[in-house]
Symmetry: C2
Subunit: 218 residues, 2 copies
């Protein structure tokens, strides 16, 4: 009988995440773990963010996808250095995958590293990768009930971007109800309602990134 | 040192799924495993489907969610018998959870059982639960690139419903491009473009369900 022995995987992951974190801190680099369900707009947010901040901050991006390098290509066109991780079926990034990817980046040249996780509202929230902050995106089209139905990611995230505000007139969800539900799970969460299509609300998000990077350098 | 031994979990799950399947077949019951990312519209589709077919078919629903019984309440209001599974953090349903849930249903009174999986475009596709067919929903708001980026669910599904056609004028995705990408992964897949808001396209889906149930009874 073939038996596979698995020790506490999460514990092993946490140790590797701490190593990643020490590496990032040595470089005074701010690292964001960006998470959402598929299609909430993580890559569109990154395109906008890179284009808006590239003159002030040197930005690197790690793109996590099960398959394809479509997202890394989009990000490089927007003007950041990007490394693609293909997880080959795995539903989240872990600290080991991120360690391999950041080995391909010149960290000493970066101010900000954004790690775009696999599109999944569940599993990525369970795995630290060495980030300073978890940031999540929820599309208005996904519905008001998502914080209560998928609480862990809302609980773990320091920032929630409610994206696709431009769809407001055409869907039944309400950003205020989403905010209320998210705060019932995580009273400290910072919330930015935005539209990556029109640009609405993005200045507040850029301001948060600027402040967070400045704190790492201080 | 504490060591956890895990034999091939997927193999154990497959055996339990076969047991579920034999139980369903004894009752000449058609069982659908309904999957999608969070907020694609699985529960709205079920509300519409139950309301449209309840006079012809006796329908049961198993609702899989990490937390809450919001969905089971919606389905019962629409007129079907519903059992809620709370996975307590798990990102997919497995055969064991489904076995426990169907034990609470009078299967001999049902023609059709729909199992609404946890909202997740990745993990649910890996776990059989004893279903006759996997059916998936993709919202037009999620984007054209999803079949290539999350291929397994598209490969495993017999039917793809492209939902939220009503958002067509306000998003950049195109149902034709989604169809093309889905067929490049699974040439046999049956595709129904629909809107659970306006009802557009749903008759074709109801027809597929009627035919599939009739085949199980034959």
């Amino acid at each position: 009988m073939k038996v596979t022995m698995v020790r506490n995987n999460l514990e092993a992951n946490d140790r590797l995440a701490e190593e990643n974190r020490r590496l990032f801190d040595r470089h005074r680099l701010t690292v964001i773990n960006l998470m959402s369900a598929p299609g909430a707009g993580k890559t569109s947010l990154l395109e906008r963010t890179v284009a808006a901040l590239r003159s002030e901050l040197s930005i690197g991006v790690v793109e996590g996808d099960i398959q394809t390098s479509l997202d890394a290509e989009r990000i490089e066109r927007a003007g950041a250095v990007a490394v693609q991780i293909n997880t080959d079926g795995a539903c989240h990034l872990d600290a080991n995958m991120v360690a391999a990817a950041v080995g391909q980046l010149e960290l000493e040249k970066l101010d900000l590293l954004i790690i775009e996780n696999v599109g999944n509202l569940v599993c990525p929230a369970e795995f630290k990768v060495g980030e300073h902050a978890k940031v999540m995106v929820l599309s208005l089209a996904e519905g008001d009930d998502k914080p209560l139905k998928y609480p862990l990611m809302f609980k773990e995230s320091r920032v929630l971007l409610i994206n696709k505000l431009d769809l407001g007139p055409y869907v039944s969800s309400d950003p205020k109800r989403i905010e209320q539900a998210a705060r019932s799970i995580n009273p400290e969460i910072t919330i930015f309602p935005v539209s990556c299509k029109t640009g609405e609300g993005l200045e507040a998000w850029y301001g948060w990134l600027r402040r967070t990077c400045a704190e790492s350098k201080a």
